[in-house]
């Protein structure tokens, strides 16, 4: 059975409990106390020592004039209704949160790049780095189309989300999913989660949120060669808003082509050098 995450960003409240739970369970070192001033995001990005990262997106897309009495509570809840005096309520736009994590790609670029075989697919079909094998060559780092896998300089090796391999083996759900108070992070069988995601998106569409969609399925948007992700997301905006690529691609798809082109070039260069030997 393949397991994975479904992160429903529409119910995320940005509490960062997932970040904390992840750090605590996996005993990952702290990243320091830098204040970025970028909304409430002081974590910035996923890294070798941050396997869950909550993004804070202040989305000012809908810039409309507010007139008349403004019901701040309704405003915050993004309620759509006509108010007396033609007042509009969605003037503030949304403040979006999204808990990012390793996508556990169906065809993982990091796993294909790894020359030592340290990165494997385990029995839950998750992409897992064997820490006792990794020698820190760092080739998986630029290969990852999501910028997830990262080297920890103090350690030398690369690290990323293990999808709590140890907890799964004991029949527990990953720490982040367990800690999530709004069930924004769901864990389970990939096929079941696909169903849940489809239903949730249908509900959102019915409520008038036409822009909700599932990110990480091959059906929606070409995930060129990656074949979708085991950790999917329900998003409400362009993928780039969440720092995600619209169409991630598999870099190794072209290794054979590069090899053939190089063989042709080698033949031509050999012929040219051989010709120089003529009297």
């Amino acid at each position: 059975m393949a397991t994975g995450f479904l992160t429903d960003t529409t119910v995320c409240i940005g509490c960062k409990a997932c970040e904390v739970a992840c750090k605590q369970w996996n005993q990952i070192p702290a990243d320091g106390y830098e204040l970025t001033g970028d909304s409430y995001d002081n974590t910035k990005q996923l890294s070798g020592t941050t396997w869950r990262h909550v993004a804070f997106i202040e989305n000012p897309k809908k810039q409309r004039k507010l007139t008349g009495d403004v019901d701040l509570l309704a405003l915050a809840e993004d309620v759509h209704q006509t108010l007396p005096g033609g007042a509009e309520l969605d003037g503030l736009g949304r403040w979006t949160f999204m808990s990012d994590v390793c996508k556990h790609c169906v065809e993982a670029a990091c796993q294909q790049a790894c020359p030592t075989g340290a990165i494997i697919r385990n029995e839950f079909d998750n992409v897992y780095i064997q820490p006792d094998v990794c020698n820190g060559c760092g080739y998986c780092v630029p290969a990852c189309p999501y910028g997830v896998i990262t080297q920890v300089p103090e350690d030398g090796r690369v690290f990323k989300c293990t999808l709590c391999y140890d907890r799964q083996r004991d029949g527990l759900e990953p720490a982040c999913a367990k800690a999530c108070p709004t069930n924004s992070i769901m864990f389970g069988d990939v096929e079941e989660l696909k169903q849940v995601a489809a239903e949730r998106v249908a509900t959102l569409h019915a409520k008038g949120y036409e822009n909700a969609y599932i990110y990480g399925t091959p059906e929606i948007g070409g995930t060129g060669g990656i074949n979708g992700d085991h950790s999917k997301f329900i998003l409400m905006d362009e993928p780039e808003t969440y720092n995600l690529p619209a169409h991630p691609f598999l870099p190794q798809a072209k290794v054979k082509g590069g090899f053939v082109a190089s063989a042709v070039a080698a033949t031509v260069l050999g012929a040219v050098v051989a010709l120089a030997f003529r009297d």
């Binding site: 075989g117 990794c134 300089p153």
Partner: protein, 345 residues
């Protein structure tokens, strides 16, 4: 802000200036998610571009000396230099590569498996094969040169190691090492490298051959070695190879299109335009067409060698810049630009 009147505050109400979001804060120039790169760059330090350079030289030297041998061109100095060079480069390469590992003591894990899909894995195995062949060939040369003494073993080595056969065997592996340094870069998510997947290997190989010819010419001149014909052939081959290299770089730039921008940035342009294009290709081509003197030839060779080194550094640096640029990656990963499995070209 005490001086803001109720009226202006109400006007601003619809056009909220949120704290520091790139889209509302006109003072911020970073785009997308606070300008944070969506992909991570490689950590590789100076050892890697130097290895790319040395590996290219090794491949080119193997190509030239093997061809000379096969085509019946006899030059003992050339053969000797070729064989010792292959050995030295194949000792330096693994040292540089292992040095750059996060856990150098685990380098042998590269030999756990062989993965055709991973250019890094292919590269490691090619180095093992080529390194061992180069070692055997160099041992025979050393035995013939009397460097191993006069014992039974050196005599056996000199007699039993089929150096000519082995160098023909080593040639394709060496050429693979030379080109795969480029292919290795292209099999990543970095736009400037991935976009040019077809020509990265050929460009690096052409540059490897041109630097190798210059290296041979320089060393032969330094030692006052080599037949007259060797120098003549080297010069002729150098001219042709530099032209091919220039063509491949031009085609690469066309292919990279807008994602080639980092190569012309303020930090990398001196290296790429000044070092490689002008210093390493244009100037040597001009110098090679005139009359040949020893000093001039050595100067030309040095230029080509430095130009090749500059190319490796420029490409690796440009990859870092390209990976750090959210705009480059997002435009690349949207639509038709990124390599797709069904792509033919």
């Amino acid at each position: 802000m005490a001086d803001v009147t109720q009226e202006t505050r109400q006007q601003q109400n619809g056009k909220i200036e949120t704290s520091h979001h790139p889209e509302t804060d006109s003072q911020r120039k970073d785009k997308y998610y606070y300008g944070i790169p969506p992909i991570k760059r490689a950590h590789w330090t100076w050892q890697i571009p130097i290895y790319f350079w040395i590996g290219g030289i090794s491949a080119g030297v193997q190509l030239f000396t093997t061809l000379a041998n096969v085509l019946g061109h006899k030059d003992e100095a050339l053969t000797r230099i070729g064989r010792y060079t292959a050995l030295v480069t194949m000792i330096l390469s693994p040292i540089l590569l292992i040095w750059d590992l996060g856990r150098p003591e685990r380098f042998y894990n590269m030999m756990r498996i062989w993965k055709l899909r991973s250019p890094m894995s292919n590269q490691s195995w090619a180095l093992v094969v080529y390194g061992n062949l180069a070692g055997l060939i160099a041992a025979r040369q050393a035995a013939e040169d009397g460097l191993l003494g006069r014992g039974l073993l050196p005599r056996l080595v000199a007699r039993l190691v089929p150096a000519r056969f082995l160098s023909v065997l080593a040639l394709p592996v060496a050429l693979f090492v030379g080109s795969n340094t480029g292919t290795l870069l292209s099999a990543t998510s970095v736009p400037i490298w991935a976009r040019n997947w077809m020509l990265m290997g050929p460009t690096f190989l052409a540059s490897g051959v041109s630097t190798a010819l210059s290296y041979l010419s320089l060393v032969l001149h330094l030692g006052h070695w080599g037949e007259k014909k060797t120098h003549h052939v080297l010069r002729r081959a150098e001219r042709a190879t530099l032209l091919i290299e220039a063509g491949l770089i031009a085609a690469s730039l066309v292919r990279m299109s807008r994602w080639s921008k980092p190569l012309f940035s303020r930090e990398i342009a001196p290296l790429f335009v000044g070092g490689t294009l002008l210093g390493g290709i244009a100037a040597p081509l001009a110098l090679l067409s005139g009359k040949e003197t020893r000093g001039k030839s050595m100067f030309t060779s040095t230029l080509v060698l430095l130009g090749g080194l500059a190319l490796r550094f420029a490409m690796v640096q440009a990859g870092r810049k390209s990976a750090d640029d959210p705009e480059a990656y997002f435009t690349f990963a949207r639509g038709e630009n990124a390599p797709q499995p069904e792509d033919k070209i």
